[in-house]
């Protein structure tokens, strides 16, 4: 540029060409997301897979200087068939319970070498809420510089949809054929008790919100955690074209609240700002999924109560009352 300026004569000979391209608002809103794809066409995931959709934006936000640590889950088997993989980033496939512990060692090693490489655990709900929870707790407590992402499809999907601690009340799985009798475990409250530097929720239906959060999280040193809702067509029993719609319904019904908590300060984000004030009926979400076919009126009422309590609790936190 400097060289150019010195050759160009100053004055009336200088001009700029401005090209006007008219793009709709939606296109402009997402222009900042890089075009580069790190999931090469394609994984062997089911059509309409939320994990693939989420991972597309996680990797776009993270960029090339990244290592993914993936324990047993759908995402460890959809990568492709040896000797090729769809993942155009280094991936460590590790034993179920070990993801966060592996990430601790890896992050320490990179930092000892003066490298800033992003270490991201990408694990399912079973591998996080049930099986990986003690390793996660340990890594958060040790202050590991990493980002842990739990994509939550609310069951052990890879092995055929068994119930996990993340399966919601009333949902049928292969191990709860009459509908689950217990509530979904509150993973976010457990993580919050560790006071991570950054904690957020996101949803496959809102890629821009997800992208922004991953991008921000990776600029902050220390332990970061994200919990991403992943509506899974075969697991939740809805048609594959409804993955995004299902995520939107969860957010609009207040069953899933998009937020971020930075150094203890809570901010509600994106579509959840409206849902904090006005919500669609939870039935609009439950009735379009086959897994809730056997849900009872009492269970639906229980879910409604939980939603209202959760929203009220988050609002109190935003208002600084608790």
């Amino acid at each position: 540029m400097h060289g150019m300026r010195s050759i160009l004569p100053a004055g009336p000979n200088q001009y700029f060409i401005i090209i006007h391209v008219k793009y709709p608002k939606e296109r402009l809103d997402t222009m900042a997301i890089p075009d580069e794809e790190f999931l090469l066409k394609t994984t062997s995931a089911c059509a309409g897979c939320p994990s693939s959709l989420i991972l597309r934006y996680v990797t776009k936000a993270a960029g090339t200087d990244t290592v993914l640590v993936i324990p047993a889950c759908c995402t460890s088997v959809i990568q492709g068939v040896y000797p090729t993989t769809a993942m155009n980033l280094p991936v460590y496939n590790v034993a179920f319970a070990s993801a966060a512990a592996v990430a601790s060692g890896m992050s320490e090693a990179f930092r000892a070498e003066g490298k800033k490489t992003n270490v991201i655990c990408y694990a399912g709900d079973g591998g996080t809420i049930d099986i990986g929870i003690q390793a996660l707790s340990g890594a958060l407590e040790r202050g590991t510089d990493f980002l842990y992402i739990c994509y939550d499809n609310e069951a052990y999907s890879n092995t055929g949809m068994q119930r996990s601690g993340a399966t919601p009340l009333g949902a049928m799985t292969t191990t709860t054929p009459g509908g689950k009798k217990d509530h979904k475990k509150d993973l976010d409250a457990i993580v919050a008790a560790h006071n991570p530097v950054y904690q957020a929720t996101a949803c496959a239906a809102y890629p821009q919100d997800l992208y922004n959060k991953v991008e921000k999280a990776l600029t902050i040193p220390g332990p970061k955690f994200m919990h991403v809702l992943a509506p899974c067509p075969p697991g939740w029993r809805f048609p594959s074209e409804k993955t995004v719609e299902m995520g939107k319904l969860a957010v609009k019904a207040g069953l899933w609240v998009l937020y971020e908590r930075e150094n203890g300060k809570l901010t509600i984000t994106g579509a959840s700002k409206a849902a904090m004030k006005k919500r669609i009926p939870v039935e609009d979400y439950l009735s379009v999924q086959g897994r809730f076919r056997k849900i009872t009126a009492e269970q639906t009422a229980e879910i409604k109560k939980t939603v209202e309590e959760n929203i009220a609790r988050l609002q109190r936190e935003v208002d600084g009352i608790c």
């Binding site: 709709p24 939606e26 066409k41 995931a45 068939v81 090729t84 993989t85 594959s240 074209e241 993955t243």
Partner: protein, 81 residues
């Protein structure tokens, strides 16, 4: 001592040509399309290019693009045979 590690290398088609899975194919009506890019944003498999062309070798036919298109510009058309 040398250990042989099982390392997979990145390549297109690592899981085969997933376009063969399709029962319905997405077809964009250029007249209706306003180039908003939401179909590309939501495609789980990045089968829609920056220029909004659908790669039918790999598109799995999930139908999310058609469902989310605000202009209803994508039709899901049944594949022959």
């Amino acid at each position: 001592m040398s250990a042989k590690l099982a390392i997979s290398r990145p390549a297109e088609g690592a899981a085969g040509k997933s376009g063969t899975w399709r029962t319905f194919r997405p077809v964009i009506d250029e007249e209706k399309c306003n180039k908003c890019g939401l179909c590309r944003l939501y495609c789980p498999d990045a089968a829609i290019s920056v220029d909004l062309e659908i790669d039918l070798d790999y598109c799995k036919g999930c139908g999310i693009c058609a469902e989310e298109c605000p202009k209803k510009a994508i039709a899901m058309v049944r594949e022959e045979d």
